[in-house]
């Protein structure tokens, strides 16, 4: 237990109840501007007014500051240490991007501002669009979708519109067993049914498996590349050709695009649609679960169906147009999560074309280093070349009382966030590690050493114990639903 002795384990972490319990009538958290027009009583204007003031807390400014600062110390964060969640891509978030996105110049603009005032913002959107075309080698881009899953839904709506325009309804989307849960969920939401293809023993889709299910009811195949095993779909060109022969489309889930920047472009092998997760590949902050941003890029086939509004150049001016009759319509009010576009735009500029390639190269190097350091202690179920993430499982630990979940929870006591567990579903008890390119060798070694120490000392009590809260009772949460604070009055 040498490792544990080295970590402090006794940071100043304070209890803090929900704000409603600290609330005291009369406490004021902010000052409002003085009212410089005659005061109007709502009861004079409305037939009926709100029956009772909303029970928002009453706290002073310093109390609010402490309330949220104390709570913040209960979180793990990428700023604190390695966050090796496979497929989630937790990389460093450059702070310049925050400064710029939050500056008044960018954050105060309204989408309905006069077009002349908006040229700078539209230029940022235009340039980001060009960047995304460059990264994918695909001719059409829409920045509209609000998150990756929203991009998936939008992409699948384009697929539906494509077949509809050809006068047919195709009902089925093929997905691989390595797919994220969002893929089948998005397909269902777009009105499709799902047929799943099993990947081969080498972790990729085989043309024979596709041939066995390919028919004229298949609208598209949806697959992540590199897939969630961190493996490049080596048959992707053949698969694309087979699909196109039947006029079915190829949807690439771009969740792992961060692995192949400047190394491979989906457009070159015939992808018809891909969604970007700007919060993964282009390092916009995850924010504890959003906001994300999920632009899509498409092939020529799908350009006519892209959502409105679209960016267009009219002479020197950039304008937004919505006069495209075949468009699927609007997928979100206004123009997408613009604040995230700025951050991604800054990130891409900070790196440049060659830097983007270096991002993927370092991500691949780091994942391979993790693999080299852990392959002797954890089982590697699929021995194929690793790109940005590596998937192990707990087979070597079956004789001990350790398993994937216990290893993950124990890692918390070592002061680091666990990897992704039990995903992808095609690997039983998966342990999925993605260090990303922004981890140093020493930080990776910290993780590797912790895993090794856990595996060599299997007789431990229920972890985690060295945290603000120990194992949380999720069953009780679901059984006795308490989704809001119970006020005393």
């Amino acid at each position: 237990m040498d490792f544990l002795k080295k970590s402090t384990g006794h940071a100043v972490v304070l209890e803090e109840p929900p704000s409603f319990e600290n609330s005291r009538p009369g406490a004021v958290g902010t000052d409002l501007p003085s009212l410089d027009v005659p005061r109007i009583d709502p009861q004079k204007i409305y037939k009926k007014t709100r029956s009772k003031k909303a029970r928002l807390p009453e706290l002073s400014e310093p109390e609010v500051m402490r309330h949220f600062t104390r709570m913040s110390t209960w979180n793990y964060a990428i700023d604190l240490g390695i966050y090796p969640l496979g497929s989630c891509t937790m990389k460093y978030n450059p702070r310049l991007n925050e400064e710029i996105a939050r500056s008044g110049e960018l954050s105060e603009a309204h989408p309905y501002d006069p077009i002349a005032w908006s040229q700078g913002h539209l230029r940022v959107m235009w340039e980001l669009t060009e960047d995304l075309k460059g990264v994918t080698g695909m001719p059409g881009v829409s920045l509209q979708p609000a998150a990756g899953a929203h991009g998936e839904l939008t992409g699948l709506m384009l697929v539906a519109a494509y077949h509809k325009a050809k006068g047919r309804q195709r009902k089925t989307i093929l997905t691989a067993d390595t797919a994220h849960g969002t893929n089948p969920a998005s397909a269902a939401l777009a009105g499709f049914q799902i047929v799943q293809i099993a990947t081969g023993e080498d972790g990729v889709i085989h043309p024979e498996a596709l041939a066995a299910v390919l028919n004229d009811d298949i609208a598209a195949l949806m697959t992540t590349n590199p897939n969630t095993l961190g493996i490049f779909e080596k048959n992707i060109q053949t698969i694309a050709d087979m699909l196109h022969e039947r006029d079915a489309l190829l949807y690439i889930d771009g969740a792992n695009l961060n692995a192949v920047l400047g190394l491979s472009r989906p457009g070159d092998f015939g992808a018809d649609v891909i969604q970007f997760n700007l919060h993964k590949t282009f390092s916009t902050p995850h924010g504890g679960g959003g906001p994300g941003s999920g632009p899509i890029a498409v092939s020529e086939r799908l350009v006519p169906f892209l959502p409105i509004p679209r960016l267009e150049k009219k002479g020197e001016q950039i304008v937004l147009v919505d006069d495209t009759p075949q468009s699927i319509g609007r997928v979100k009010a206004f123009y997408g999560n613009y604040g995230m576009f700025i951050r991604a735009w800054c990130y891409i500029r900070a790196l440049g074309g060659e830097g983007l390639r270096a991002v993927s190269e370092n991500a691949i190097l780091n994942a391979n280093y993790m693999r080299s350091q852990l392959k002797d202690v954890l089982n590697l179920p699929i021995n194929a070349p690793t790109l940005h993430e590596v998937v192990f499982n707990d087979r070597n630990q079956r004789e001990t009382n350790l398993d994937t979940t216990k290893i993950a929870k124990r890692l918390i006591d070592y002061g680091m966030h666990p990897m992704t567990v039990h995903f992808p579903l095609c690997v039983k008890s998966a342990i999925m590690i993605e260090p990303t390119e922004t981890e140093s060798r020493s930080e990776m070694d910290r993780f590797v050493n912790a895993v090794k120490e856990i595996l060599s000392t299997p007789n431990v009590e229920q972890a985690p114990t060295r945290v603000f809260r120990e194992r949380v009772d999720e069953t009780k949460a679901a059984r006795e639903l308490r989704l809001t604070y119970r006020f005393k009055d």
Partner: protein
């Protein structure tokens, strides 16, 4: 040769060591998994790497004609509302522990995010007068579309949806896109004097209608009679869905829950979230408790840890995509956590009395603005009979778009010309007045009307 960069800690010496550990001579050896026929050998066209200084300079140049650089005055609302925001909100949301953490799937490492979500859900449910709120959605428009999908699941055998013609036009477009492939027939309830016609609703609503969707305050700023509309919808077994883009109005208007809403959605941008050229914002989604299992999105619940201490965790995840895949209630995964946190901190700072007072200020300034604009003789209130919150429509004598452009040249955005949404509506101007507009600002707008309209 891999380039060195400030975001990448690996030095050339580290790289040599790491490669050796991997049994590789070069990065190229690690790329053998990518077949040669799909390798890209060019350089991505994003230009050379730029320093912080260069990026800042470029942004300043690009934004030189923006509203901020011009110190412009704006009366534009239409779904995005320019409200005050205490400095502490921005500062707190910059804390790395909130900003750079992942979705709280490991509750033991995410109690800060989770307690904030629990407070968020509590406040949102309280404001809407509803029993349960989810942990956020993308924005107001997609919340409303998902409410319609939820109504489809709750009223499986019904295929018709009634939508008021006063719902924000872009929300309606999103709704149509979401429902395009799902076999739902959408009909629109006409307006009477700027609000949903109760008589028309009564004649349109049948046993086949799964839900009725009403926005209040509506797109034209008018307050809808939710209670009567709800009663009409429910008389035929339809669910009653309310959309509230301007959620500050909930401080003074009867809550959707009190008026009989089954599902109530809205936009949390009003809680001090920067306008940011249209996003990111935060969708609000509330319903009755009996429908919670059909709700989309994440839910945070209270529980205990192994020591019996109050704790929080995401719950009812059997509704969600990562468990249920194609049978999930929604495909939503990442949503708007940091903006939900922003809204939570804002509501906590504004507080119980401040929230009410802020709404009164909006109402007072709006009433003042109505009088000031009408007094110019250049503008008439289109729906003079209706009560409004902080937005209203005036008709100009000539083209509202012309006035908009002339005023913009003088550094004032006077509102939104309604011709933007309906080419036939040439005279309508939708004007929004929040607490951030001073009396002098409003008088400036009136003066511009006198001179330019």
């Amino acid at each position: 040769m891999t380039v060195q960069h400030r975001f990448l800690p690996t030095t050339p010496a580290d790289r040599a060591d790491l490669l050796k550990a991997c049994g590789a001579n070069s990065i190229e050896d690690l790329l053998i998994g990518i077949p040669a026929n799909v390798r890209f050998n060019g350089v991505l066209p994003s230009g050379p790497a730029q320093s912080e200084l260069e990026i800042r300079r470029r942004i300043r140049t690009l934004m030189k004609d923006g509203r901020y650089a011009k110190n412009a005055l704006s009366f534009i609302g239409a779904g995005i509302y320019d409200h005050m925001c205490p400095s502490a909100v921005n500062q707190l949301t910059l804390r790395g522990e909130f900003l750079t953490s992942y979705t709280p799937y490991q509750p033991e490492l995410s109690q800060g995010t989770l307690q904030a979500l629990f407070e968020f859900q509590t406040m949102v449910a309280e404001l809407f007068g509803m029993e349960v709120s989810n942990a956020s959605h993308y924005d107001g428009s997609t919340s409303l579309a998902e409410a319609a999908l939820m109504a489809m699941r709750l009223n499986k055998d019904k295929k018709r949806l009634l939508v008021s013609s006063s719902v924000h036009p872009e929300y309606v477009q999103v709704l149509k896109t979401y429902l395009a492939n799902l076999g739902v027939e959408i009909s629109f309830v006409p307006l009477e004097e700027g609000v949903t016609s109760l008589n028309s609703l009564k004649s349109l609503v049948t046993d086949e209608v799964m839900a009725v969707i009403i926005q209040s305050p509506n797109f034209y700023g008018c307050v809808e009679d939710l209670e009567s509309l709800a009663a009409a919808a429910k008389a035929k077994g339809a669910l009653f869905i309310v959309s509230t883009p301007e959620t500050l109005s909930l401080a003074v208007l009867p809550s959707p829950g009190d008026c009989g809403a089954d599902i109530a959605t809205g936009e949390g941008q009003s809680f001090g979230v920067p306008q940011s050229f249209g996003g990111p914002f935060v969708g609000l989604f509330t319903s009755k408790m009996e429908f919670v299992r059909q709700m989309p999105g994440r839910l945070c619940g209270e529980t205990v840890d192994a020591q019996g201490r109050r704790s929080y965790t995401l719950t009812l995840s059997t509704r969600e995509q990562h468990i249920r895949r194609d049978k999930a209630t929604s495909n939503i995964c990442t949503n708007q956590n940091l903006i939900a946190l922003w809204a939570t901190i804002w509501l906590t700072m504004i507080g119980k009395e401040g929230f009410h007072e802020l709404a009164v200020q909006n109402l007072s300034k709006t009433e003042y603005a109505k009088e000031a604009l009408v007094a110019t003789g250049k503008a008439k209130l289109r729906f003079a009979k209706q009560s409004t919150f902080n937005e209203f429509v005036v008709d100009l004598k000539g083209s509202a778009q012309d006035f908009f452009e002339k005023a913009a040249a003088r550094g004032v955005a006077p509102g939104v010309a309604l011709s933007r949404f309906d080419g036939k509506d040439t005279t309508g101007l939708l004007v929004c007045v929040t607490e951030k507009k001073s009396r002098e600002d409003i008088d400036t707008l009136a003066q511009l009307l006198r001179e330019l309209a």
